[in-house]
């Protein structure tokens, strides 16, 4: 509902990245002759990193890009702050074309409006925590004037008291918190997170995800978050893009990705994902009229009641308490019925034939 009101902060249009000395020729060949990846490699000795990627990220949104290693997701995110030049396509940040910027404007953009967190952390080993966090302020000659900002960022990631330590004195999780603090110290509008938690062990990863989500709720940064972990993407992302071999296969909300996978590749990915906290009642309910046509008139006032946006988890709780189906009510009106059968199928991730709300709506 807020999506339409959101302005686009990042807009990527038709980004291609071809690696190789003859990337220009290869690009033309793809445009004019529609050569395949295979042929491009054979004829031009070029590798396609990103293939025609377009997406937008709204203000305050967390946009996850999910893909396996080698799918081009780290290449794609580096186009946003132009660490990598696209072979074709353009990146527009708050109305400004990043690729048309001169070196000075680009540096200002990177220092003031974009914060980045790296999988390898990439902290500077010869600088203390404080000096690392203040780096983007320091390159603009502001480190001393904005001590308070640095302290604030360090506090936000719970590292107060560690300012004078060097990165190699910190644990992996703490190092990445320094990375996070460094990214938010200059109070940028955009955060680029390149697999920030992948190198950490599961428990620490979960902690950092929580830290990040709390920070994110508080700071409302527009975020592009790269991960190879679908659970993480679903946990964190407002929207998810699935990337495979340089192509954005599907872009959608976590629920859309899980319930309506665009192809077999995505379907295989989401197969193991728990639907309990993702799928809503609206998706599995059938109209009351259809239910009564099949089972005769019902005393619906005795049934348990849920709302269309309630997740399967809530419905399971209701179903455990009574044997009757669940009535779905919106704005005081009965909009549908969820049977036990539909609920169980929903948890499985399969839809009952003929009961989908989409077909009758």
């Amino acid at each position: 509902m807020t999506k339409s009101a959101r302005e686009d902060v990042i807009r990527c249009e038709g980004i291609w990245k071809i690696f190789g000395e003859r990337s220009r020729e290869a690009m033309d060949a793809i445009r004019n002759q529609g050569l395949s990846k295979q042929l491009i490699r054979e004829k031009y000795d070029c590798v396609i990193g990103v293939q025609n990627a377009s997406f937008t990220v709204g203000r305050g949104e967390i946009f996850c890009i999910m893909g396996l290693s080698g799918s081009g997701k780290s290449t794609l995110i580096r186009h946003i702050n132009r660490l990598i030049e696209p072979t074709a396509g353009s990146i527009i940040i708050e109305g400004q074309n990043v690729n048309a910027m001169n070196a000075r404007d680009l540096r200002a953009l990177r220092a003031e409006r974009i914060g980045m967190v790296f999988q390898s952390m990439a902290l500077m080993p010869h600088r203390t925590v404080q000096e690392n966090v203040g780096f983007s302020l320091e390159v603009r000659g502001l480190a001393d004037a904005q001590r308070a900002k640095i302290a604030q960022a360090i506090e936000a990631v719970d590292l107060t008291g560690w300012e004078k330590k060097y990165p190699d004195e910190l644990s992996g999780g703490m190092q990445q918190r320094v990375g996070l603090a460094r990214a938010i110290a200059a109070d940028p509008t955009i955060l680029l997170m390149d697999e920030p938690f992948s190198a950490l062990d599961p428990l620490i990863r979960k902690q950092l995800q929580t830290t990040f989500m709390e920070l994110s709720a508080e700071l409302h940064k527009t975020t592009v978050f790269i991960t190879h972990d679908l659970d993480e993407a679903i946990r964190i992302g407002d929207r998810i893009a699935i990337m495979k071999d340089g192509v954005l296969v599907q872009i959608g909300t976590p629920e859309q990705i899980v319930t309506e996978p665009a192809d077999d590749y995505v379907a295989e990915f989401v197969a193991g994902i728990s639907k309990l906290d993702l799928v809503t009642a609206a998706r599995i309910m059938q109209p009351l009229a259809q239910y009564e046509a099949a089972n005769g008139p019902q005393n619906i006032s005795a049934w348990s009641v849920a709302r269309p946006e309630d997740k399967l988890n809530t419905l399971v709780d209701l179903a455990v308490g009574s044997d009757s189906p669940i009535r779905i009510e919106a704005e005081g009106r009965t909009v549908g019925v969820v049977t036990r059968r539909a609920l169980l199928r929903g948890i499985q991730g399969r839809e009952e034939v003929g009961t989908s709300a989409m077909e009758t709506a």
């Binding site: 660490l83 540096r107 990439a122 780096f135 983007s136 060097y166």
Partner: protein, 311 residues
């Protein structure tokens, strides 16, 4: 000239490109253009003489204590004791040994200073540019392997005998490791850290001075150490073109088959080498390896600042 017939099996005997004569022509040009070089020579001579005078002006005991303190600061207490012992031994070798060592130290210091001024920028350039690296590498190979006697003559023709020629000859031999290791140091900086610096809006200059050079420092200091060692190994050859000091003692001893004198000069050079090597190696180990402290918190300076901090 006798007429030679061309032999396919041994073509080289009958081809003479005249490279030797051509190079001799350069020598001739150098001699006829000596006046152009003279102002530069006088300037450098002045610098070397001043350094030498300064080193001689300090009384040996004060110099000994000073060098020991520097070693303590740079490399810790144990190295300081070693350096102190070496210096005492150097002084005891011969009544004149200390003075000769200071003369040699002045030449070495001047050479190393110039090496740093020339080598550091070249090394950074080579670290940044593959093309420059591939150009400079054969030049460095040549500088390191060509026998010193080959360039001794042209340098003397151009500049004349004396300290300045000695310094130039030393630089030719001692410069390469500094350039090579500076380049290596810049190249082996973790690229993800450089990328992070770029991502936070650092200019190329800021990346160089705030990231690359600090991270390359241990490697660069290893190069400096090698440059110093090579400078010392050149002092005997440099003494052939009338550079005074310990090297000259060795050379003269060789001429007179005076083994005792040769040992005095030779051991003096070794002592000086140990002192300079340990001090620069100490610099190479970062302060953080010694317990994450800043250099001013350790050694003699640490003692003094500690005293002030307590008051």
């Amino acid at each position: 000239m006798e007429e030679k017939t061309f032999d396919w099996l041994n073509p080289f005997a009958s081809i003479d490109l005249g490279i030797g004569a051509w190079a001799d022509g350069i020598k001739g040009w150098a001699i006829s253009n000596r006046d152009l070089i003279q102002p530069l020579k006088i300037f450098f001579e002045g610098v070397i003489v001043r350094i030498e005078a300064a080193l001689h002006a300090v009384p040996p005991v004060v110099m000994l204590i000073l060098l020991t303190l520097i070693a303590w600061q740079a490399a810790g207490r144990r190295v300081a004791i070693l350096v102190g012992c070496c210096l005492v031994l150097l002084g005891l070798l011969h009544p004149e040994a200390w003075g000769l060592a200071m003369t040699t130290l002045a030449i070495v210091t001047s050479s190393v200073l110039l090496c740093v001024l020339i080598g550091l920028p070249l090394g950074i350039l080579a670290g940044k540019s593959d093309r420059f690296e591939s150009f400079v590498r054969p030049v460095l190979d040549t500088m390191q392997t060509i026998p010193a006697f080959v360039y001794l003559v042209p340098v003397v023709m151009l500049i004349g005998i004396g300290n300045v020629s000695g310094v130039i000859v030393t630089i030719i031999f001692a410069l390469p490791p500094l350039v090579r290791l500076t380049s290596l140091g810049i190249r082996s900086v973790n690229q993800s850290v450089v990328e992070a610096a770029r991502a936070f809006g650092a200019t190329p200059g800021q990346i160089l001075f705030k990231v690359e050079l600090p991270l390359a420092t241990p490697t660069i200091l290893a190069g400096l150490n090698q440059t110093i060692m090579l400078s010392l190994s050149m002092v005997v050859i440099a003494s052939m073109i009338s550079v005074k000091g310990l090297g000259n003692e060795v050379l003269r001893a060789m001429g007179r088959l005076d083994a005792g004198k040769a040992i005095v000069g030779g051991l003096g050079i070794v002592m000086l080498a140990i002192v300079l090597d340990r001090i620069t190696q100490g610099l190479g180990r970062s302060g953080r390896e010694r317990g994450h402290r800043h250099w001013w918190q350790t050694g003699p300076v640490g003692l003094i600042t500690g005293l002030f901090a307590r008051n």
